[in-house]
Each structure stands twice: as structure tokens, then as C-alpha cells.
Amino acid sequence: MVEEKITEVIDIAKLALEDGTVYTGTAFGARTTTAGEAVFNTSMAGYQEVLTDPSYTGQIVCMTYPHIGNYGINDADRESGHPRVEGFVVRSLSRTPSNYRSTQSINDYLVATGVPGIEGIDTRSLVRRLRVRGAMRAVISTEILDDSELIRRARAARDMSGLDLVREVVPSQSSQWREGLDAPLTAHIFKPVLPRKRVVALDYGLKWNILRCLTAVGCDVTVVPGTATAADVLSLEPDGVFLSNGPGDPEPLDYAVETIRELIDRKPVFGICLGLQLLGLAFGAKTFKLKFGHRGVNQPVLNKRTGRVEITSQNHGFAVDADTLPGNVELTHVNLNDGTLEGLRHRTKPVFGVQYHPESSAGPHDSTYLFEEFRQVMG
């Protein structure tokens, strides 16, 4: 009966989960087979930022908002050079975009960059499944249409826990970042603080908007691979060090933790997302995997220092266990939905980080003050 239905559709794609669930929909993007961890993002816009965010490496992303692709793809809203997701799952794909900045459709973009997509499935039921059972390994395919084979492949896919995905995305060499936030849509966000400071950013899978924010707030940023040593970093004589976001589990990243341990005694340090988790590990705290993570742009975070709530952009599947923080580290931010740690700060050193994304992109600009603070602590 299932097979009968399938033969009527020309361009089939399937998504299979390790628990044996199979969704049948229509293919878009590249015609291929990929495996990854199935996760969902609740942001209603910002799909281009999601696609190109390196933190999604190894993941198949389902957008909860049904219409995706409405305003196309443009040259400015990229968070890295190419899409990072393993596959893209939407309810309804807009094949004809409408926006003055659009240069191509999402379908053309994903075809050109080799990423498979599936549309027309009940994405809400997928999300509910992931909520109840937790993030699951999955396979997306336009080639294999046998359910059992797909499920077998999903179960054979690599597990996120204990996996070093950072090595897959770190740049091969250092570079100097130049771009700020001077585009008309973003120019209002920061007023630069002078004099400009030198920042070295450790790239574990960095989102470009972090660099744009740092530049806009008054930093000259050198990006170095996340595998760099403390000596490598210090040789650049920075005023401060930035620890970037990145994909997957922080625990296997010993090299990064090692580097950070050396840096926190020497320089002001600011970490975002994976950067914060690594900072936590460097302080001696533990991390753990969340059931299905936080991915979206509406997460309420309480800033314990000000008592104010920030609506934040988030993308993480692992978190720092607040109960394991040493006494010299202060819990500064907490997620109001589930009480997890969202920010920490050393009680005496200019070292701090947040679990969420103050650079937003996609998402609100409630937390841009963190860049200003980082700039301030460098003097």
C-alpha cells in the first residue's frame, strides 16, 4: 500500500529515524543519501543562517515553521561559506522566492551545494517525536526507498556523543576578518568603541556574524583554527581571546580545553556556545547532552546580574552542568524554560561566556551588550 502511493510521486525523498519511523515526502535540493542527527529549529525565519551555521555539522535539521524559502537566498545572510547541515526537512518549500535581496531559490542553492532536502511531510509529528524520544539518528535519501534499509542505515549512523566534529570544520589556516555590520539592515546595532582592540578568535566552527559583531564593536579579529595552542594564540599578542561556537560534543576536545586553560590566566576571554562549554570544561565543570537541545530564536534567558530577561537565539545539544561549577565561577545566566546554565563568569578574572548566541543571526538582538562588555574588559 505504501509502495503504491510512492509510484505516483515522481520525486520522492524519505526520512527514516533510528526508532523505525519513516516519513515519505518530496525531494528538493541535491539527490543523494546522508545520515545525521535529526533535530528541529523553531525559528520562523532565518533559514539561510541555519543552513550555513557550522554548529549544525552532522545534523539533519527540521524547520518547525511550515513555509521555508519565502525570501530566497542572498549573498549577505551567510554564517559560513556553504551549507553545513546534512539534510533539510520542511513542510512546504517556496520554490519562487520574493525579496529584493534574493539572488536564488533555496532549492537551487541546495542543489548547487549538494545538500538533500525533503518537503511535504508532517514536520510537526517529527518534532513531537523528537521531543518525546530525544534527538535521534536519521537518514535522508532520495535514492534508497526501502524502509528497512533506511532504518538500518539510520541505526548505523555515528552517534554525536563523544564525537569530535570540530576537526571536520576548523579552518586550515589563520585569517584576518574584515567585514563589519555596516549593511543598512544591521548598521544600527553597534556603535564602535575606540580604540580598536586586537582579538584572536579560536574557530571551532565559527559563525561569521560573531566576527561581524566583534568588528563592529571595535575589534580587529584574527581567526585561528580551533586546534591552535595557547602559544600560537599568544604569539599574536591579542588584547583578548574569543572562543567560538561549533558542532557537537565538547567533551572529546581535550586539545581545545588545554589551550583555554592556559589562556584564561593570561587574557580576557569570551566564549559563545561550544566556546562556553569548553570554558566550563577548562574550569573543571562537566557537560551533558540535552534530550533534544535548544534550537530557535525565542529562548528566554534570565540575566541574573540585571534581573532582566533576554530573548535569545540558541543552537546547542550539549550543556554545562551548573551543579559542577567550581566556587570561583559565577552562574550569570539561566534558561527560564528548563533552568539550564546559559552563562558563566570567573569571579575575579575577565573571563566569561554564554551558551546562547548574542550575535543572533538568526534571532533577536537583546544580548549584544556582551560584545560591548568584552570590548570593555580589554580596556
Partner: protein, 1100 residues
């Protein structure tokens, strides 16, 4: 910051009668606010003149004042109640304005009342255009460039600065008369001159044209700790130039990238902070240039609004409730998200569906009005639909409009492919100028071969929306190609349903019965599933059962993967989120759909009362409705809320899933009654009065038989299917006759005719309207007094709830006339006879629930039955408030099996005070429309005046209806020839009371003959200064003008139109004038007082 403990008692102002631009969304917000504040232990004092609201239910507030919303009356209430605070932000512009007036006259300060939510400075900053513009400049938010000119020279200076095209908005002209867009200098010069001349203050605002830009709204909430959230973004399908209330709007915004959206969000945060709304909700409107990065702030409302109600229903985030709690000191993070109950309210809802709102218009009732959509709102209601895609939600919304359409075309009203197919000229014209039919013409344009690019160039509607509509047409073509149910594969069925096609549309395309489509579709395994509105796109578990239907592809599971439930065949499940029965009996209540003239908030009131009564009695309640403005669609009102169009298909889907033990059809007005037969045929258990009894009351022949059997009297009547038949009937029963189509609410196309020629003219229209159904012709009882009776019956006994005597004589639609309870001038014996007849009818019809009867009493004291409606009536809430008896609740319990005895309804309640209901009309929104009353209903809302005497109650009702009677001053009298004699005592009484009388020549002569002092004034065509000049100068305080003819072009119609424009109270019937004279006498004797409902009925 916890709630404030320095406040104990809080006053809240409602929005008064339903008018265009202020609908029942303020009953929803106000009721939420009342509940929220009482939940926190505050004592709530409510003032609202509108009896048809849930908020004025004596149980909603601690002290309920159904009194005029004027500064004087508010001050009386504040004096009596001495509240600590006043919340002015949940009652629309009306509440804001009256609160500002109280502030300006120092009353709040004197009485020690603090404005909470938004204070006077904030309101002023948001509402004063110049101040708003200046603040936007300070915070770097772009606004349209503009200037105000008082002379032509100034106008030219301004336009030189802002460029062309530009918009001209003359100040203080009615309905924006004299405004418009100038595209070139010549046009500008001409228009500026006219605008300056028409403006009473010689003032014109010249503004940069942003017509055609994309239009957005953000619903913003801020708390005392400066936390700000955006609850919802809304994008208008109709670009700038059409009032957002008249636009098709979509949530969330569809065509903004995150970067564009976040910039808008940033601006909204800056605006709410700069304007200074400290704790509460605001609505901010933006426009963006589709071709550049320019974004402009249009305006801000520092209060809850129609859009915030829509946003609340669209997201599940109850803005008014939260705003009320923020106003008393809470912060967002201290409040829970009601839907999840585990996460805080300090977040931004994310939705995984598309919400489309479509406005409902009533232009057919105002044939002289300009039906072009402009920046002045003209719609009278709206419907909202939820679907997983825009296409699905748009088609659902269009069938939810209840205008005989079942989606975007492909239904019986579709003109394409018929002899009436629109020409390319008509299509071009209908696209170019915004109008309420434009959505249909988008489809016609596509069918005629126009490209999306061309349609966009003409309409400026964003191509994204047009592409989605084009996709709907693609599916329509596929259905036409399939041609029959046999050719439909399961995938094809699913695709059609996912694009929102109704069974009715598919049946029309296949030319088969709708039931066949339903049967074949279900046989193919394609059935509606229900998803939750949960504020969080399923990220968290939702507690509140608020559903919408959609169609989803089945998911296949390995046996090991199947979770909690399995409903489909062999491992294939289309996921559905409705919950299994709790074992309680389930009762489904069908709502009234979008508001329209003739079917408004009164019916929502009844539905909500039913839900409350059933909940209290231990039933599980299910509400089905499509109107986002209402209390019935608050997820708090019933145990299960289904936001669905009210069509057979959509209601059956809910019944399939929920298996109700009973369905109530008699509370939602005509909408559910029209579905009753179809539902019953499908085996749905209708409770209350039998469907056959409804038919007996509505079918003329069966009804006449009933009236005869009871030995009651009915005006002689007949019916006809064509013009010749109509003539024959009219000649038999004698003129004047009342002609009307059957099965139509609100007196649509109804007319009193006095001769053959007029009869023929109107029969043609009536036949058109009723689409094949007969035209009814009744003898018109000229000069009779009309009486409305509401009663409750349980099948064995009937109790009259209230007898209402109409002020205006027979011939004026009962929904438009004022009425008084108890009757003020009918003999007791006559009232008893009317009650006896009512009870007899209720028993004969075996009514279980509510019934309304309209009678006419002739001068000779003969009682005629005009019509019987075995359902809730427009007057149900009024009667309930006037008598302190919750009729709808009692009726509901009767429907589920209680007897009147068990409910303690033994006798009838005749209050010692008088209550007057007065109607409120939208004439000021439709300049040029003649305001005289007739058998076609045209009022949008109602107010209530309560006092110890009839004249005092009448005076209050007039004040509340913004038709205040002057205590002194000048009265203009001009009556039709037939009324001259009867006008004499009225004029004499006014003269004796000390009013100065003025009249045009004919009436003046007639009055002088009777020895009444009167000054003569010129008619409009008799030179100047004439009456209209006097009105402009404020030298006329009251007008009594009975019509001798009808039509916008007559001299007297111009007088009436001028009265509307210059806000001079104008009375158009002698009966009302008579009541007004008595009221004038009363208000001159002593001031009117106020009293809470709870005091009157011993609950305070």
C-alpha cells in the same frame, strides 16, 4: 516584582457599542482583564454601555455599571466607587479617550485614581502625530515625511520638500472626504485647494506616499522591569493604502528575512521604550519598501487592539490577560505561559502553522456608500483560519466568511466559466482599486492569463502571496483534469485537501453531491487531523486543548516504533492530537462565525453563557467558531476549542473526532441553524428544540398552520416565486406590503412597498438574494407598535424572560429600533395576552431552550404574530441584564435535560426599573448614506440605558449611543407632510421646556398655525445661510426630521448626512422624538444617576 499591594480596587472601561473599528475584540480583552485582575484578588469595577458583552455579565466584575461611557458618567462611578486605579487600555479608543478626558479635567487627580497600563503622558506621546514623529526622529526610526499646511502656499512648500506622489489628508472631514493621492503637480494643486476648503479647520496633512509598500504589525508587550517581547508579527496581504482592519492579514510575517524582521523588532523595542508604555501591550505598524531597505513606522496604539486579539488567537498567547497582570506589577518571567504551564510568559511565541484573517463587509446594506477600500475602515467583522500552509488557511478563511463561498472559487458563486464571467476590463478595474472583491479577482486575473508579475504590478500584492494563490489554481486545474471521484488517488485527495479545497468545491468541480465527495475521500483514507495551537511549535507539551484541522501525510512506523496510540491501518498513521474522552458527557456548541450586521456579539454572548453553564454542570464543552474577536474563541471559555469555519464539512470533521453527546445549534444565530438539518442528516445529535420545530417556525406554510391551530392572528400574507405571483398576492392582501426573501437574517433586501411599481422593483432584488427561495409578502401593519418577547421553555412549560416594547413603530427592523423593558405604554392586559400567546407558541413548537417572538399591536389593540425564532435572539443578553436572569444559561441546562422547575424558573421577572436598548449605526463611516431607518437592519451595535423611569433610561441610552439629548438649546424640526399634525404636540412640549425651535418653511407654517413660536431657516437650495451653515456653526443642538422620501440625493437626506458629519443628534421618527421630549424633560429636572447591576439585583 510581585503584584502591587497598594491597590485594592481597579476600575476598567469597556469600549461601548460595537461600531466599525471597535468590534467585540474589546469584550474579549476586557473580559480577560477582569478575570485576570480578580484572580489576583483585586476588586474590579467595570463601566460599559454595551449589554451584549460577557464583560457586563454580573459575574465577570465585582461591580458592573452599564452606563454611558462619557466623562460625566465615569466621574459619577469613580465618585461612588473610589477605586485606586483605572485601567484604560483594554477598552479600545473609546476607553483611552474618556480616560484622557478625565485626566484633562482633573477628575483622576481629585479622586486619587492612578492610571495603570498606560498613563496620560504615554497615551499623548503615542497618539499625538507631531509628538510621535518627533520621538521617532530622536530614536532614529524613519517615518513618512510630512507637513501640515493651512494655505495653498504652505502646501506647495511642503510638497516641494517631500516630492510626488503624495497623500493629502484634510483634517476633520468625515471618512477622509477630500483626501487622496496626487501623482503630479497639477493634480496636487487642485486637490490641495479642495482639501483646504473641505477641512473645517482649513488644514491638510501632506504626506509622502507609501501606498503599495508592504505593511506589517508587531504586537509588543513590555513589563515594569523593561523586558520586552514580540508576541506576533502580522503581514498584510493588501499593501499600504488599505486599513489593516480591511486587509487580508497573515501571521506570522511571510516575506521578511530574519535580518529585516529583527530590524523591525529592534525598532519596535525602541519605540515602546521611547513612548514609555511601562507595562502592557502595544501594537506598532510598519511599512517596508519592497525594493529597498527603507522601513517606516506608521503608528502605535498604546493599548490592546483588534490586532492584539487576533495575535492572541493566532498564537495562544493571551495578550490582554498578561497585559492586565503586568499593569498591577508583575513581570513577564513571573507569569506562566498558560498553554504549557511549565514555561514562563517571558518568551516569544513561535508557530508552526499559518493564520489568515479575512474581513467581512456589509456594503450591500449601504448601496450609496463608496465601496473602495481606503485608510478608513469599513468592514464589520472578520474570520480567521488556521492551516499548515497559507493556501490552506486562505481557503478555510474564505469559506469561514459565510458569504456563500467555499474557498477561492470553484464553488457555485464562481463567475468563471459562466455567462457572467468577468471581462478583462472588469478584472483590470477590480485589481487596480482595492475593494472587498479583490481576492476573487486575483484568481480571475490568473485564469484570464495574467502573470504574477503583471498582477503584482497592478495590485502591489507581494509576489509570494500571488505565487501561493497560483499554486491553488494549479491544484484546481488538476482536479478539473481528474474530473470525478473515481480518478482520484489517495495522493490526489491529500494534495487537494492540503491546498485547502473544501469537499463542496471538489463536489462543484466534479458535479456530484458533497456527501459523495466526503464518502469517497474518507474511503481513500484522507481525513482531517487536528493539531494544537501551543505557542511553541511543539517544543513543549501543551496543556490547553486549542485545535485546528489540517491534512497531513501518513507516517509509517516499524511495529517497534509505534508509540502511544495507533489509529490508522497497518502501521500508517496521520498524527492527530485530540485527546480521548474523560468519560464526561461532551456537548458541542456551534458559534456564530464572523460578525456581520444582523448577527453580532449577542450570539457570541449566548454561546459563551452556554459553555459556562455546561462547565458548571459537569459537562465537557467543545466550542467551534471562526471569529477571532470573540470570548467564545478564548481557549479559557470551553474545554476544547476548535478554530474552524462553520460549514457542514468542518463541523462534521470535529464531530467525527470528538463524538459529542449533544450539539447546540440555537445560540450562534442563523449560522448554526443553517447547518442543523445537514448535521442531523449525518447522524449528529442536535439537542434542544428539534430541527423540525425550527423548520415549522421558519417555513411560512407550516407556521401559518400553527398560528391558525392556536387561533392566533398573523398579518395576511403570501409568497411568490416570480414577479407576477407577487403582484397577485399584494393585490389580494392590499398595500402596503412588506416583501422579503426567506431564510435571511437582518432584513436583507426587505422593503415596505406601497404600489405595484415599487413591488416589482423590489421583488427582483429579493429573488436575487434568496437564490431560488420564495419571496415572502406580508400585509404591513402601518402605525402598529412592535413587541419582542424572549422566553425559555422546557417542552412542558414556558417562562417569558422579558417583553420589550419598541420605541419606533412597525416597519423598522427590530434590530434597529430602540426598545424598552418592561413596556412603558401597553396596558397590562395586553402584555398578559402577549405572554399567553408566547407560551402557547413555545409549547406548540415543543421548544427546549430559547425562543423569540415578534408581535405587532395595532392601535385597536389587536395582537399579531410577526415571526417566531426558536433560538437565541439578539435581545437575549439585553433581557438577561435587564431582569437579572441569565436566560441563555437556563436554556442551556434545559437542553441537557433539566426542567424549568428544577432550575427554579417559576414565575416571570418584571423589574421595577426601566431598561432601554438603543441601536448604534455606522453612518459616519459611510458618508453620503441616508440615515433613515427601515426594514433592512443596518445597526452594528447596541447600548443599554437603565434607570428608575423610562425617560431617564431613554436619555441614558441616547447618551451612550453618542446621540446625546441637549438640556437646552435649539431644535430644528422638519417633518413629512403626513407627520405634520402629530409633530405639533412634540414641538409644543419642546417650546414649553424652553428650547428654541427652528424649522423650514412648510413645517414652520404648520407649527405657527398651532401657535408655537418657531424661527424659519433656509433649506439647502434656498440660499445662505441655510440649515447646514447653522449646523457647522454649532447653532443646532437637536434635529427632528422624518423622511418624506428616501435616497441620498434629496434635500432632507443632505440635512441628515450633514447632521452625522457635524455630530448633531438627529431623530428620524416621531415615536423616538416623543420619547426624546420626555427624556429632555427629565434631564432638565434632575441629573441622571448611576447604579451597579449587582445593587439592582441584590448581589452587590
Amino acid at each position: 516584582m510581585p503584584r502591587r499591594t497598594d491597590l485594592r480596587k481597579i476600575a476598567l472601561i469597556g469600549s461601548g457599542p460595537i461600531i466599525i473599528g471597535q468590534g467585540c475584540e474589546f469584550d474579549y480583552s476586557g473580559t480577560q482583564a477582569c478575570k485576570a485582575l480578580r484572580e489576583e484578588g483585586y476588586s474590579v469595577v467595570l463601566v460599559n454601555s454595551n449589554p451584549a458583552t460577557i464583560m457586563t455579565d454580573p459575574e465577570t466584575a465585582d461591580r458592573t455599571y452599564i452606563e454611558p461611557i462619557t466623562p460625566d458618567f465615569l466621574e459619577l462611578v469613580l465618585e461612588r466607587e473610589r477605586p485606586d486605579a483605572l485601567l484604560p487600555t483594554v477598552g479600545g479608543q473609546t476607553a483611552l479617550n474618556v480616560a484622557m478626558a478625565l485626566h484633562a479635567r482633573g477628575s483622576l487627580k481629585r479622586l486619587g485614581v492612578e492610571m495603570i497600563g498606560a498613563n496620560a503622558e504615554v497615551i499623548d506621546r503615542a497618539e499625538n502625530r507631531e509628538k510621535f514623529k518627533a520621538i521617532m526622529g530622536q530614536i532614529g526610526v524613519d517615518v513618512p515625511r510630512s507637513g501640515v499646511a493651512h494655505t495653498l502656499a504652505e502646501a506647495h512648500e511642503i510638497v516641494a520638500d517631500i516630492g510626488l506622489p503624495c497623500v493629502l489628508r484634510p483634517s476633520f472631514t468625515l471618512g477622509g472626504t477630500g483626501g487622496g493621492i496626487a501623482y503630479n503637480r497639477e493634480e496636487f494643486a487642485r486637490m490641495a485647494e479642495i482639501a483646504l476648503e473641505l477641512s473645517p479647520t482649513s488644514e491638510v496633512l501632506i504626506e509622502e506616499s507609501i501606498i503599495g509598500w508592504k505593511e506589517f504589525e508587531l504586537e509588543v508587550v513590555r513589563d515594569r522591569a523593561d523586558n520586552v517581547i514580540i508576541v506576533c508579527s502580522i503581514e498584510n496581504l493588501d499593501p499600504m493604502g488599505v486599513h489593516t482592519g480591511d486587509s487580508i492579514t497573515v501571521a506570522p510575517a511571510q516575506t521578511l528575512s530574519d535580518k529585516e524582521y529583527q530590524r523591525m523588532r529592534d525598532a519596535a523595542l525602541r519605540i515602546i521604550r521611547a513612548i514609555g508604555v511601562e507595562c502592557g501591550g502595544s501594537n506598532i505598524q510598519f511599512a517596508t519598501d519592497p525594493h529597498s531597505d527603507r522601513m517606516i513606522a506608521i503608528e502605535m496604539n498604546p493599548r490592546v487592539s483588534r490586532s492584539s486579539a487576533l495575535a492572541s488567537k493566532a498564537t495562544g498567547f493571551p495578550i490582554a490577560k498578561i497585559a492586565a497582570k503586568l499593569a498591577v506589577g508583575y513581570t513577564l518571567d513571573e507569569l506562566k505561559n498558560d498553554i504549557t504551564r511549565t514555561t514562563p510568559a517571558s518568551f516569544e511565541p513561535t508557530i508552526d502553522y499559518v493564520v489568515t484573517k479575512v474581513p467581512r463587509f456589509n456594503f450591500e446594506k449601504f448601496p450609496d456608500a463608496d465601496a473602495t477600500l481606503t485608510t478608513q475602515m469599513k468592514s464589520v467583522g472578520e474570520t480567521m483560519a488556521i492551516g499548515r500552509t497559507f493556501a490552506e488557511s486562505l481557503q478555510k478563511a474564505l469559506r469561514g466568511l459565510e458569504t456563500g463561498r467555499f474557498g477561492l472559487g470553484a464553488d457555485r458563486a464562481d463567475r468563471w466559466g459562466t455567462p457572467d464571467q468577468p471581462t478583462s476590463d472588469e478584472i483590470a478595474a477590480r485589481l487596480a482599486t482595492p475593494n472587498c472583491e479583490r481576492i476573487w479577482f486575483l484568481r480571475y486575473a490568473m485564469l484570464s492569463g495574467m502573470s504574477v508579475a503583471d498582477i503584482h504590478a497592478t495590485t502591489r500584492i507581494d509576489p509570494w502571496f500571488l505565487e501561493q494563490i497560483a499554486d491553488i489554481l494549479t491544484v484546481e486545474r488538476e482536479l478539473r483534469a481528474a474530473g470525478s471521484t473515481r480518478a482520484m488517488t489517495p495522493a490526489a485527495w491529500l494534495r487537494a485537501k492540503q491546498y485547502g479545497f473544501s469537499d463542496r468545491q471538489i463536489a462543484t468541480i466534479f458535479n456530484v453531491a458533497q456527501s459523495e465527495v466526503r464518502r469517497e475521500r474518507k474511503a481513500a483514507g484522507v481525513e482531517a487531523v487536528f493539531k494544537l495551537v501551543d505557542t511553541c511549535a511543539a517544543e513543549f507539551e501543551a496543556v490547553t486543548p486549542y485545535y485546528y484541522s489540517t491534512y497531513e501525510a501518513a507516517v509509517s512506523y516499524l511495529p517497534s516504533a509505534i508509540g502511544q496510540k495507533q489509529t490508522g491501518p497497518a502501521g500508517q498513521i496521520a498524527e492527530d492530537e485530540t485527546r480521548p474522552s474523560t468519560g464526561k458527557k461532551r456537548i458541542l456548541i456551534l458559534g456564530g462565525g464572523p460578525n456581520r450586521i444582523g448577527q453580532g456579539i449577542e450570539f457570541d454572548y449566548c454561546c459563551v453563557q452556554a459553555a459556562f453553564a455546561l462547565r458548571d454542570a459537569g459537562f465537557e464543552t467543545i466550542m467551534v467558531n471562526s471569529n477571532p474577536e470573540t470570548v467564545s474563541t478564548d481557549y479559557d471559555t470551553s474545554d476544547h476549542l476548535f478554530f474552524e469555519p462553520l460549514t457542514i464539512e468542518d463541523v462534521l470533521n470535529v464531530c467525527d473526532r470528538m463524538k459529542p453527546d449533544g450539539v447546540i445549534v440555537q445560540f450562534g444565530g442563523q449560522t448554526p441553524l443553517n447547518l442543523a438539518r445537514g448535521l442531523e442528516a449525518e447522524g449528529v445529535p442536535i439537542i434542544g428544540t428539534a430541527v423540525d420545530s425550527i423548520d415549522r417556525a421558519e417555513d411560512r406554510e407550516r407556521f401559518t398552520a400553527l398560528v391558525d391551530a392556536l387561533d392566533l392572528r398573523q398579518p395576511p400574507s403570501g409568497h411568490a416565486l416570480d414577479a407576477q405571483g407577487a403582484l397577485a398576492v399584494a393585490r389580494r392582501i392590499g398595500y402596503p406590503v412588506l416583501v422579503r426573501p426567506s431564510y435571511v437574517l437582518g432584513g436583507r433586501a426587505m422593503q415596505i412597498v406601497y404600489d405595484d411599481a415599487s413591488l416589482l422593483k423590489f421583488v427582483t432584488t429579493a429573488l436575487d438574494v434568496a437564490a431560488g427561495k420564495p419571496v415572502l409578502i406580508d400585509k404591513f401593519l402601518e402605525g402598529a407598535i412592535e413587541v419582542d418577547v424572549d422566553c425559555v421553555a422546557d417542552g412542558t412549560r414556558a417562562v417569558v424572560g422579558g417583553v420589550m416594547q419598541h420605541i419606533e413603530e412597525a416597519g423598522i427592523h427590530s434590530g434597529d429600533s430602540a426598545c424598552v423593558l418592561p413596556p412603558h405604554s401597553l396596558a397590562t392586559a395586553l402584555v398578559e395576552e402577549i405572554k399567553r400567546q408566547t407560551r402557547a407558541l413555545a409549547l406548540a413548537l415543543e421548544v427546549k431552550g430559547l425562543m423569540n417572538v415578534q408581535f405587532a399591536v395595532t392601535a385597536a389593540g389587536e395582537v399579531y404574530v410577526l415571526e417566531v425564532n426558536p433560538r437565541a435572539s439578539r435581545t437575549t443578553p439585553f433581557v438577561s441584564k435587564a431582569t437579572g436572569t441569565p436566560l441563555a444559561r437556563r436554556a442551556t441546562l434545559v437542553m441537557v435535560g433539566k426542567s424549568l422547575d428544577e432550575l427554579g424558573m417559576h414565575g416571570e421577572v418584571t423589574p421595577t426599573h426601566f431598561s432601554v436598548k438603543e441601536s448604534v449605526f455606522p453612518f459616519n463611516k459611510f458618508p453620503g448614506t441616508d440615515i433613515i431607518l427601515g426594514p433592512e437592519m443596518r445597526s452594528t451595535g447596541e447600548v443599554m440605558g437603565i434607570a428608575e423611569t423610562m425617560p431617564a433610561a431613554f436619555a441614558k441610552s441616547q447618551l451612550a449611543a453618542s446621540a446625546a439629548l441637549p438640556a437646552t438649546g435649539t431644535v430644528f424640526i422638519s417633518v413629512a407632510t403626513r407627520d405634520k399634525a402629530d409633530a405639533v404636540p412634540i414641538a409644543r412640549a419642546l417650546a414649553e421646556l424652553g428650547y428654541k425651535l427652528i424649522a423650514t418653511r412648510g413645517t414652520a407654517a404648520a407649527l405657527r398655525q398651532e401657535g408655537i413660536r418657531v424661527e424659519e431657516v433656509r433649506k439647502v437650495q434656498e440660499g445662505r445661510p441655510n440649515l447646514i451653515d447653522l449646523m457647522k456653526n454649532g447653532a443646532v443642538d437637536l434635529i427632528i426630521n422624518t423622511p418624506s422620501g428616501r435616497g441620498a440625493r434629496t434635500d432632507e437626506a443632505k440635512i441628515r448626512a450633514a447632521a452625522v458629519q457635524h455630530r448633531v443628534t438627529c431623530i428620524t421618527t416621531l415615536a423616538a422624538a416623543q420619547a426624546a421630549v420626555e427624556a429632555c424633560r427629565t434631564i432638565r429636572e434632575r441629573p441622571l444617576g448611576v447604579m451597579a447591576l449587582q445593587e439592582r439585583f441584590g448581589k452587590g
